[in-house]
Amino acid sequence: MLDGLVLAPCDRSAIWLAKSLATFAFLAAAEVVALPLYAIFFHRVGGATIAAVVLADIGICAVGTFLGAMAVATRARDLLLPLLFLPLAIPIVVGAVGASVVDSPGRYLGFLALYDALFAVVCWASFEFVVSE
């Protein structure tokens, strides 16, 4: 399917952006259901937690889409994606968990935003090399 998309007459990085946005929409739809339930059954969900979830979603979608396109090109595609993704997801988990438990989450949110910005730039710049030869 990626081979067909690459034929589209547009910037290759636009494919990455579109795929990331689609994944983000899926994640956001799931969380719109999950977060109120979480608030009812477990703990109050404040603005900081929602902001952390949104920022973490952006990071997961940006990096996950990118690594997904990478793993598809390999022989052990299903096996490789989690292996590649886990180390890159750990900073997201640290930032998002931190932002949702401490009293002043500004630094954690700033860190998540920094992570998103850095990896979005790297993904945007290098996606072309992943899909083309």
Binding site: P87, V94, G98, L118, F129, S132
Partner: protein, 238 residues
């Protein structure tokens, strides 16, 4: 611009140093470092003789990071300038980084056994951070060897090596932040008396490890190049 850059490149290029000079230099430096570590550096106040592994542990860790940074630099050259040698060089850099990273984990475990009484502590964030980075670079090999050799493998490896150099500072920032709610204590590796002979010994050990890593890099890359050439020759003859 290009002529001047080429001149600077030629003067600064390490490639021109012959391999036997490098080998001799690293042997001499490692010997000097060993002499300094065991005979010149003073004993630590709390850990006494055992503290001396610090000189190797820290310098090896720094060398591992330098190897990963070198791998990312070569990866950038591959993607940017299409340097035909850069892919292999990037791979060899990361390979050396993995070797030195394994040594960091081993020497660190010995250190931890002496200092804390445990081989490994999951509550120490630096340890977990380094393990994550190490595993990240282990996945580099899985990625590289599950793609057939060719331009796509070179591209994927290069992009992944670039990801690593972004991940290292980000992980450091994450660890710094998480100290606040996971683990408030920072274990000081050395006492307040970091200076004098300790600093001199550390610098010599650091130089020794960097030169050793570069020598190993050159040896490995020479072997890999020879292998490639041999394969091409075999194909021509077959």
């Amino acid at each position: 611009m290009s002529a001047r850059t080429a001149t600077i490149d030629r003067v600064l290029s390490l490639r021109r140093i012959p391999l036997w000079t490098l080998a001799l230099a690293s042997a001499a430096l490692v010997t000097t470092a060993l002499i300094f570590v065991f005979y010149v550096a003073p004993n630590d106040r709390y850990l006494h003789f055992n503290q001396r592994i610090f000189y190797f542990h820290v310098s090896i860790a720094f060398t591992a990071y330098a190897c990963f940074a070198g791998g990312a630099w070569k990866a950038l050259r591959h993607l940017w300038k299409r340097d035909p040698r850069a892919d292999l060089e990037s791979y060899v850099c990361v390979h050396q980084g993995i070797i030195f990273g394994a040594m960091v984990l081993i020497t660190g475990s010995i250190w931890a056994k002496v200092a804390w009484g445990q081989w490994w502590l999951w509550s120490e964030d630096e340890l977990v951070l380094f393990l994550v980075l190490y595993l990240f670079y282990c996945a580099y090999f899985m990625l590289r060897f599950s793609v057939d050799p060719g331009p796509q493998r070179a591209n994927l490896s290069a992009v992944y090596a670039l990801f690593g150099v972004v991940l290292v500072p980000v992980s450091f920032a994450a660890i710094r932040l998480s100290k606040e709610f996971v683990h408030p204590q920072v274990f000081h590796l050395h006492g307040p008396n970091f200076g004098g002979w300790i600093l001199v010994t550390y610098c010599i050990a650091q130089a020794a490890m960097l030169v050793l890593a570069y020598t190993l890099y050159r040896v490995e890359i020479a072997g890999k190049r020879l292998d490639l050439r041999l394969r091409e020759l075999k194909e021509v003859l077959a």
